[in-house]
């Protein structure tokens, strides 16, 4: 009997079967007892033997955009510090927010404004950003604006990007303190470039997420005017089609960056991707006005892309 085999007892009145983890030795001893007392064994007719392949949390399966009612949005939704903007709670159903202003069309223009501006300690959840019905191209003007901007510590929970515009979400240089953006649940589709952009300091967390037809899942800013050694935590993420790379970190910084000698660190657990692009690639972070190049030092990249 392989270790990890689990006995499942379906007890009357219980809605969740009781799980009893039986280690190999215990199982052998138990089976000797059962062989001599078949009646007792029959008493366990409610037991089902199931081999469970590990107990670790795995990446989610393929997700789809929820059926939603379109709501036109003409200006950025500002979420005050410490508050939650919950789409399902606000509208009583799933809505997809479609930007109507010229700078919210969800094109690749850098002058786009965000759909949401999250202030320190705020959360956006249960909403679809952009109109996913326009086709499969990644270069559509689907009204997703520049996604979500986070200033400080923010949460993006169970949010779907039906068609990503310039970015899905950006962690800004915070007004004060250390930034942290946690993206938990949800999915994103059709990002021509990167999905999550990390410009500020601190940590970006991506967990239990699905993305398909994207350029990159994450990019640490390669040439921001103020550079930081950033942290990324990826846990339980499934990627479909990736057009550039999974994750882009600055595995080293040059002298123009102002933080030479430092590096980003991406800690990656349960990242499921079966395509041919790199799951994590390193760049040399630089200063504003310069173009970051790929880091050719494999030791740097190995230090920056930590797979657990």
């Amino acid at each position: 009997m392989p270790p990890g085999l689990v006995v499942v007892a379906l007890t009357p009145g219980s809605r969740i079967p009781l799980l009893l983890n039986i280690k190999s030795k215990d199982w052998r001893q138990g089976m000797n007892g059962f062989s001599t007392t078949r009646r007792l064994w029959r008493g366990f007719l409610g037991l089902v033997l199931v081999a469970v392949a590990g107990t670790a949390a795995a990446a989610p399966g393929v997700r789809t955009v929820p059926a939603c009612t379109k709501v036109n949005i003409s200006a950025t939704i500002n979420v005050p510090a410490g508050t939650t903007w919950d789409g399902v709670a606000k509208y009583g159903k799933w809505v997809c927010l479609v930007g109507t202003a010229s700078n919210m069309k969800g094109t690749q223009s850098e002058s786009q404004v965000p759909m949401f501006k999250l202030n320190n300690g705020s959360t956006v959840k249960n909403v679809v950003i952009g109109d996913g019905s326009l086709g499969s191209d990644t270069n559509l003007a689907a009204g997703g604006a520049d996604g979500v901007h986070c200033d400080g510590q923010c949460n993006i929970t169970n949010v779907y990007w039906a068609d990503v515009g310039e970015d899905g979400a950006t962690l800004l240089k915070p007004s004060s303190g250390t930034a942290k953006l946690t993206i938990s649940g949800g999915a994103a589709f059709k990002a021509k470039d990167k999905l999550f952009q990390h410009n500020g300091n601190g940590t970006l967390v991506i967990q239990d997420f699905y993305a398909d037809n994207i350029g990159k899942l994450y990019r640490s800013c390669g040439n921001c005017s103020t550079q930081f050694a950033r942290k990324l935590t990826v846990s339980g993420v499934r990627l479909g089609k990736v057009n550039s790379a999974g994750i882009g970190v600055n595995s080293s910084y040059d002298s123009k960056s102002g933080i030479a000698g430092q590096a980003d660190v991406a800690t990656i657990t349960d990242l499921v991707y079966s395509g041919t692009k790199a799951k994590c690639e390193g760049y040399v972070g630089t200063g504003k006005g310069n173009e970051p190049v790929k880091d050719s030092n494999s030791a740097n990249v190995a230090r920056a892309c930590v797979f657990k």
Binding site: V6, V8, R15, I16, P17, L18, L19, N21, V48, V50, A51, V52, A53, T55, A56, A57, A58, P60, G61, V62, R63, T64, P66, A67, T84, V88, W94, G121, T123, K125, N126, Q153, N155, T157, N158, T178, K180, T182, S184, G185, V205, Q207, D208
Partner: protein, 261 residues
């Protein structure tokens, strides 16, 4: 009696349709074709197709029986008809996803049970459950909890709890608290309780949940994650909150605080 006759008629029609499909020639390999939308009148009615095209557009693909099955809300037969139709793969997948969405909207539990119990259709369970979770995360999660134990149930249960806690955290946590600690709920609890959102808005609930994690190692990891979240939110207040954590020994609390320094 009238109702029975009607049901019998539907069954006969279904049987006749299946027979016709079974006796027919094996499906011909679909010819390479550009994706196009099917436009039967019933498909239009249920939103599976755009209105009939203007002259000059490509003709709609032929999906024998689909209109009829959809009209009668015989979704299993509609899926079979679609799977057997000589369509381009992309068109078939597009229509299948729309059909599943419709089925999950009308009768999600029936759809999930059908996928679960019909040979060869297991792959459709996950997309059906995904749709069901979007419209009724509670029911879809409870359904997952009643499946035979195994990796599939574990995955669906975790996904369900992830969505349910996001959409109605209060109800989902009540449901979790209604059970004794169980290893199969550990991962979902650890994820929900250790994250920033619950730690920020309801830290005492987060600590209560972590204390309910059955496996000691996973419980400890969840304490570490929660302690980090509390510290990120308020470095000064983390220690006093952890002092109120149920089931956390003073030595464990001290160790957590040491790790944060």
């Amino acid at each position: 009696m009238k109702k029975n006759s009607r049901q019998l008629a539907v069954l006969l029609a279904a049987a006749a349709g299946l027979g016709a499909l079974a006796l027919g020639q094996p499906p011909v390999e679909p010819a390479p074709a550009a994706p196009q939308a099917a436009r039967g009148p019933v498909l239009q009615m249920i939103g599976l197709a755009q209105p009939t095209a203007d002259a000059g557009e490509a003709p709609a693909p032929d999906v024998p029986g689909l209109d009829r099955w959809m009209g009668q809300r015989e979704f299993p037969q509609a899926v079979l008809a679609l799977q057997r139709a000589p369509l381009a793969a992309e068109t078939r997948e597009q229509l299948l996803q729309q059909l599943l969405a419709r089925w999950a909207e009308v009768a999600p539990e029936q759809a999930a049970r059908w996928a679960l119990n019909t040979p060869g259709q297991a792959d459709l369970l996950a997309p059906l459950h995904d749709r069901w979770l979007q419209q009724d995360a509670r029911s879809a999660t409870v359904f997952a909890s009643m499946l035979p134990a195994g990796a599939e149930r574990q995955a669906m249960l975790e996904e369900g709890l992830l969505r349910w806690t996001a959409q109605d955290g209060v109800a989902a946590r009540d449901w979790l608290r209604s059970y004794a600690p169980q290893p199969e709920l550990d991962a979902a609890i650890a994820r929900h309780a250790g994250g920033d959102e619950l730690a920020r808005y309801a830290p005492h609930e987060a600590m209560d949940l972590v204390a309910r994690i059955a496996a000691p190692e996973r419980r400890w990891q969840a304490w570490q994650a929660l302690a980090r979240s509390l510290h990120d939110i308020d470095p000064e207040g983390a220690a006093s909150l952890l002092a109120q954590a149920p089931g956390l020994l003073p030595a464990e609390r001290a160790r957590l605080l040491d790790e944060l320094r």
